[in-house]
Point group: C2
Chain length 116, copies 2
């Protein structure tokens, strides 16, 4: 008899809300990391196969809810413009990933107990 023909995976996702509004989660963390990498919203969005508009909307919401903006964007200039992730943004990314890692570890341990 086969053990299992189905793989059961535990997933976990955490995010932050401010006044009940989604503020910071895995998708936005990824976006911020890409902006750090490319220095540009549009290139970050491209690399994630995301529309510029959606990326821009995320950033707008983040900046509106954070005490200090996480992304500063500039129009014009030698490269046409660009975007920079602030120190607060970098810190937030780091904190969030650390929390995520801890939770994933816990879930990994628990998954051994779940034999349903």
């Amino acid at each position: 008899m086969k053990r299992t023909n189905k793989s059961v995976e535990i997933h976990v996702r955490c995010w932050l809300e401010v006044n009940g509004i989604k503020f910071f989660g895995p998708g936005r963390v990824d976006l911020l990391e890409k902006i750090i990498e490319f220095g540009s919203i549009s290139k970050a969005a491209q690399s994630m196969n995301m529309s510029y508009k959606k990326a821009w909307g995320m950033i707008e919401e983040i900046n509106a809810l954070a005490r200090t903006p996480f992304v500063i964007a500039r129009k014009g200039g030698h490269a046409g413009g660009g975007a920079e992730v602030t120190q607060a943004g970098i810190l937030a990314v780091r904190s969030f990933k650390r929390l995520n890692k801890k939770i994933s570890l816990l879930v990994g341990k628990e998954s051994e107990l779940l034999k349903l």
Copy 2:
């Protein structure tokens, strides 16, 4: 100076997938508990302000992916029919809630460290 005029909350959600398909999560756990309470899909859905169709769809998906059905429904009869949560379903609900509680506790501790 005010400390904060914005409340920051950490949210966490975990769920199970089978072969990449959503299988079991908080919403479905709630539904199963209500079915245990009422012995009826439609009454359970009503009490959660959920449409019968959605509830029924959830149950169909759960039963299709579980090794053993979690809900058994009957048509006709003295009360017109009814639904029963199987032992496997009850066990799954218990296990899931236990895991959820552990994760919530961890997140509660971590939330003190997150002063962003």
